[in-house]
């Protein structure tokens, strides 16, 4: 498969169809593995890295999951193509910086991506829309079992899978969910939630500005430790915590609707107005305003058909996605104009927020109504 097919088709996880997709954007699980008797990629010389690459790549390509795969050496991707893959979470930023001696193989649906010679010899990642940690783990675990039959992984009975960084040793697993929590941020409850989650050994991240405001109200919750706990237990614990976060966010949304409807509507209305009429917009502003649009759709102020275009905009307004259609690299101000143009075009047919009836009043599934 050619890179063109990957770039023009968005992956399955970006379509937002998984369970709890209104709040949980995506679930990811990645496993780190290394071959026995080779140095880790960061320490191996180029000839050794090439040896490792040629030992691993054919085995990865032979996986049944990789039937219609896209497989490419790092040096054969342009900087922009790599950046697009980073924005889709199919490769890491670190992997994007690699050249000769590294490669990536991903399936057509873009739910499975395997990096070769990133920080570890193998970084296998599964990603799906919504809260699907268990099924994502099952998928990636199957891939791992198939590969270990053909590759001799560095493993110690005491320490488990040996990884370049001691933070990953043991299961080599990091599971995470990206969650959208605008109501918890607006109602200033997010700190409490983060602290509670931290207390049980899970990490919550975002790019913090003042206080704990995260870009676009997106947070990532992940396991922090990899040694001394079973994979299934880590996944189950994380899953349970995410479910509780979803409940808190839903309650916070209902509270805002009842107690501070004007604040809520002001945010959503301004988001709508600015997105529809701006002529220059940086990616931070876009993320934050789109977050309010997403909230407005979830709460039923916009028709459900608006959901998909807004979800798409989160991805399409990222710098590399913005430029993949343009002939040359754009300067920052040109990007901002193009971003505003794309958003305007997409939102042109959006109706005004219908303040009268919110969907949550009708939709029994979305929260508590008394």
């Amino acid at each position: 498969m050619a890179i063109h097919n990957i770039l023009t088709n968005t992956g399955e996880w970006m379509r937002g169809e998984g369970p709890h997709h209104q709040i949980v954007v995506s679930s990811r699980v990645r496993l780190a593995r290394n071959l026995r008797s080779f140095s880790f990629p960061g320490w191996a010389k180029k000839t050794e890295r090439l040896q490792i690459l040629e030992a691993i790549k054919p085995q990865v390509e032979a996986l049944p999951e990789m039937g219609e795969a896209f497989s490419v050496y790092s040096q054969d991707l342009s900087a922009l193509e790599k950046q697009v893959l980073v924005e889709r979470h199919l490769i890491s930023r670190e992997h994007a910086a690699k050249g000769v001696g590294s490669a990536v193989v991903m399936n057509k649906r873009q739910t499975l991506s395997i990096m070769i010679n990133e920080e570890d010899h193998l970084r296998m990642q599964g990603i799906r829309s919504g809260l699907q940690l268990k099924s994502v783990f099952k998928m990636i675990d199957k891939v791992d079992s198939a590969l270990e039959e053909r590759l001799d992984f560095a493993f110690s009975p005491q320490l488990g899978y040996l990884t370049a960084c001691p933070t990953n040793v043991g299961t080599g697993m990091r599971a995470s969910a990206m969650v959208h929590l605008p109501a918890l941020v607006m109602s200033e409850q997010i700190n409490q939630v983060i602290q509670a989650v931290n207390k049980i050994g899970l990490a919550v991240r975002g790019l913090y500005g003042e206080g704990t405001e995260a870009l676009g109200n997106f947070f990532q919750v992940s396991n922090q430790t990899t040694l001394g706990e079973k994979e299934e237990d880590i996944i189950a614990r994380l899953h349970k915590v995410i479910e509780q976060i979803i409940e808190h966010e839903q309650n916070a949304r209902q509270m805002l609707l009842q107690k501070r409807p004007n604040t809520l509507l002001d945010h959503i209305g301004r988001g709508y107005g600015i997105l529809q009429h701006a002529y220059s917009m940086n990616s931070k502003e876009a993320l934050n305003l789109l977050s309010f649009m997403k909230l407005g759709i979830d709460l039923g102020f916009f028709p459900e058909e608006c959901c998909r275009p807004v979800d798409e905009l989160f991805m399409e307004t990222q710098p590399a996605h913005l430029q993949k259609g343009t002939a040359q690299k754009l300067a920052a101000d040109e990007r901002d104009s193009l971003r505003a143009e794309i958003i305007r075009a997409k939102l042109v047919a959006f109706p005004k927020p219908s303040v009268g009836a919110s969907r949550s009043d009708r939709d029994a599934g979305s929260g508590s109504e008394n």
Partner: protein
């Protein structure tokens, strides 16, 4: 304030992460923050960066071995990168790593998945140890008939 990574440029990105109630702060310059992917809220690099840097400092205090015999990686290299050289480094630097892993993780022993290949060789090892012990016992008791049987079974279990 200078960047914690390159120690040269002015830090403009300030990150805070709270794990297990412990707060960690990192100050980065524009280019290091981009390189480490910290502006990507979904990236995993931040935790690794934070813990990696801290880990290397810890290492300095414990452990006496300076260089890995297998790959030539040294403690100084670990301090610089926060990453190890090869799988054998875990044994080479076991002393220094022990306390570090203890502080970093939930436990000190792996309880998760075991690759089928390793499981098979583990089982074989245990079986061989048991048989060898039985053999010594049989010989000590001058039960040569049993000893011969055990030796045959050992031959079957032994690899190659």
């Amino acid at each position: 304030m200078n960047c914690d990574v390159c120690k040269q440029n002015q830090a403009t990105v300030f990150l805070t992460q709270i794990v297990d109630g412990k707060m960690q702060k990192v100050n980065l310059c524009e280019s290091c923050s981009k390189e480490k992917g910290v502006t990507d809220p979904t990236g995993f690099a931040l935790a690794d960066l934070l813990l990696g840097l801290g880990a290397a400092q810890e290492m300095e205090r414990g452990g006496s071995v300076q260089k890995c015999a297998v790959c030539g990686f040294s403690q100084a290299d670990f301090k610089k990168t926060g990453r190890l050289g090869c799988g054998a480094c875990y044994e080479t630097f076991a002393d220094g790593l022990a306390s570090l892993l203890k502080g970093m993780h939930k436990g000190t022993a792996h309880v998760g998945k075991i690759p089928a290949r390793a499981l098979r060789s583990l089982e074989r090892e245990t079986q061989m140890k048991t048989l060898q012990r039985d053999l010594r016992k049989a010989v000590a008791e001058e039960d040569y008939e049993s000893a011969a049987q055990i030796r045959d079974r050992l031959k079957q279990v032994e690899p190659g």
